[in-house]
Amino acid sequence: MTLNALNISIKDITKKYDDFHALKDINLEVTSGEFLTLLGPSGSGKTTLLMVLAGFTSPDYGSVKFGDEEVVLKPPHLRDIGMVFQNYALFPHMNVEQNIGYPQKLRGVSTQLLKDTVNEALATVKLDGLGHRNVGELSGGQKQRVALARAIVFKPKILLMDEPLSALDKKLREEMQIELRHLHDSLNMTTVYVTHDQKEALTMSDRIAVINHGSLMQLGTPNEIYNSPNNAFIADFIGESSLITVSVKDNKAYLKKSEIFVNHSVEKNGDHLLVVRPEKLFISEEKEKDTNLFFGHVSESIFQGESQLLVLRLDPEVFGEQSLQMRIANGSDLKGKIPAVGDKISIGLRMSDSFIVEKSDDSQ
């Protein structure tokens, strides 16, 4: 399939429900062919934004353009978008083939083309031969594939997906994430994907738009979002992290008395949060160059299969009442030397992995 994907530009989109700001001046450019994820907790406004793109919710003001065309005043059925819903929204009175053929029938394509495109879509989602099945006979994963086939059969230039994998079990969900991503790459559609699952967002996206309280908090590649979140909410929401309160004075960060080295410049004085990713900590006997060193004792040690999660209570005299989570991969060189509860250990965090963010109301 060769398609010309369309870019989407969102300007000043605002939607209020009484006193509740569902969306606040959202500005966002989705480049053509991009896989962009709207990520946020429930009630953050991410689904509302998707519904604005689809045309099911009209904003109070703002502009949505598909390519050069303003669509905010267009009803959904004229927007020519493929959409996949959270609970599939398959038509229960039609079989698989009829479901997938529905948009083609509306477009009045010839019987032969209808048949060909439906078969092509079925093959794309790996459901060849299941065309005559009733929708009720399908498993959750198969239903999702049918919903996807139905959304792409008419080759829309934009594909919107609203938490399409949330009803599937974990294993299937992870398989489908990869598959959806491959599908996106082969179909070359601009995809806007909504999820509350940060791992899913990191796995699938070209870029992630983190949304909270109706505002766009950060837009960036998965790597940027994970490794340099621009506020405490994102640091807390994406991945695992221990957030440690540090104070900034004279462009330096301090945890109680000891200086914490960070990988960026700090200007604003006052309390900040040090974001410590559990997998970036390592056991370190002595202070190395460009490394922050912490010590304390192990208060919990939990076996989690692929890794061991340790909770460290830092020495209160040096660091104050603080604890850090640390993750050690099982099967690493440390095997057999995993510290036990009560052990005194010292751990390092490289300066390049250390960063602080401003405190916000959303974290802690």
């Binding site: 689809a54 045309g55 099911f56 009803p75 959904p76 059925h77 004229l78 927007r79 020519d80 978008i81 493929g82 959409m83 819903f85 959270q86 609970n87 929204a89 398959l90 038509f91 229960p92 009175h93 529905y102 948009p103 509306l106 477009r107 919903a147 139905r150 959304a151 008419f154 919107l160």
Partner: protein, 309 residues
């Protein structure tokens, strides 16, 4: 594995072969007791059904085969076939029932659709509007229509005052009065199962249809309407079956000009003391109803008719 362990294992295997599994008998007894308790709960109803329905219907069957002279005969049934009057009554009954059902569908479907699209809070208020008349006495409502629709009633007065008509229209004591009254009384029976059905239709299905390119009316006819058919059929069936045996409203608003089966049964007993003829009519009506229910059950599942989905 040590020798002793093997002995113990062997012993355990022998035990399970020779006797039942742990607690098997007690658990089976518990299950049985549970079933008896459930049966006990249904017992009063079973007794009632037997005493008030099964036995009387059996008696009805028996009486329908008793002729005027008190002997067994088929005269009650042959009269029904031979007499043109009886045929007319059956035709009237079916005509009125079909028309009432159609009127209910045409009034009820749009209203129910509207209610199903409202937020739950507003739909609840509308539902109260449907249910209050439903809970009001049938007789009261029928006489109310008589008052409203008569020659010098409110409806005719308004129509004449507005000069829409020159002389009062005869609304009551005829078929139109019967239809107006019956449709009003039957409407909730159509709305209730239809509403239950429409509420279960996934709104995302309609949205999906729109996103796939369907205009609102196309989405309605290709998705919403087909999905509402089970509820609609259930409602139509309930209304139709209730109409077949309806008595009060056609008797009052028909003014003796619209004679349905139930009224003939009543007059057979009250005027002619002919229990046999009345019973035979009752039997035929019952058989028709059962036949219709049977045919309908081929179309919709009985669960939907009883309002579940």
């Amino acid at each position: 594995m040590g020798f002793e362990c093997q002995i113990v294992l062997l012993w355990k295997n022998l035990m399970t072969l020779s006797s039942e599994h742990i607690n098997e008998a007690s658990l089976r007894r518990l299950n049985r007791q549970e079933r008896y308790k459930l049966f006990g709960l249904t017992l009063p109803y079973l007794v009632l059904v037997t005493a008030l329905i099964i036995i009387p219907i059996g008696w009805l069957f028996y009486m329908s085969f008793i002729g005027r002279d008190g002997t067994l005969s088929l005269e009650n049934y042959t009269r029904m076939i031979d007499s043109k009057a009886y045929m007319r009554i059956f035709i009237t009954t079916f005509k009125i029932s079909i028309l009432t059902t159609l009127i209910c569908a045409m009034l009820g479907y749009p209203l129910t659709y509207f209610m199903s699209q409202l937020p739950k809070k507003w739909a609840g208020l509308c539902m109260i509007g449907v249910l209050i008349p439903f809970w009001t006495s049938l007789l009261v409502r029928t006489y109310a229509w008589l008052v409203l629709l008569q020659k010098k009633g409110i409806v005719n007065t308004i129509l004449v005052d507005l000069e829409l008509i020159s002389a009062p229209i005869k609304f009551v004591h005829n078929t139109s009065g019967t239809l107006i009254g019956m449709a009003h009384i039957m409407l909730p029976f159509l709305i209730l199962p239809l509403y239950a059905n429409m509420r279960t239709i996934d709104k995302d299905c309609i949205r999906a249809a729109a996103s796939l390119g369907a205009t609102p009316s196309r989405a309605f006819w290709t998705v919403f309407f087909p999905l509402s058919i089970p509820g609609l059929l259930a409602g139509l069936l309930i209304v139709f079956v209730l109409c077949l045996g309806f008595y009060v409203t056609p008797a009052i608003l028909g003014g003796g000009r619209v004679i349905m089966v139930a009224m003939k049964i009543s007059s057979n007993i009250e005027l002619y003391f002919s229990w046999g003829a009345a019973s035979a009519l009752g039997v035929v009506l019952l058989l028709f109803t059962l036949l219709i229910l049977f045919l309908a059950s081929k179309l919709v599942s009985m669960d939907q008719i009883s309002g579940r989905n």
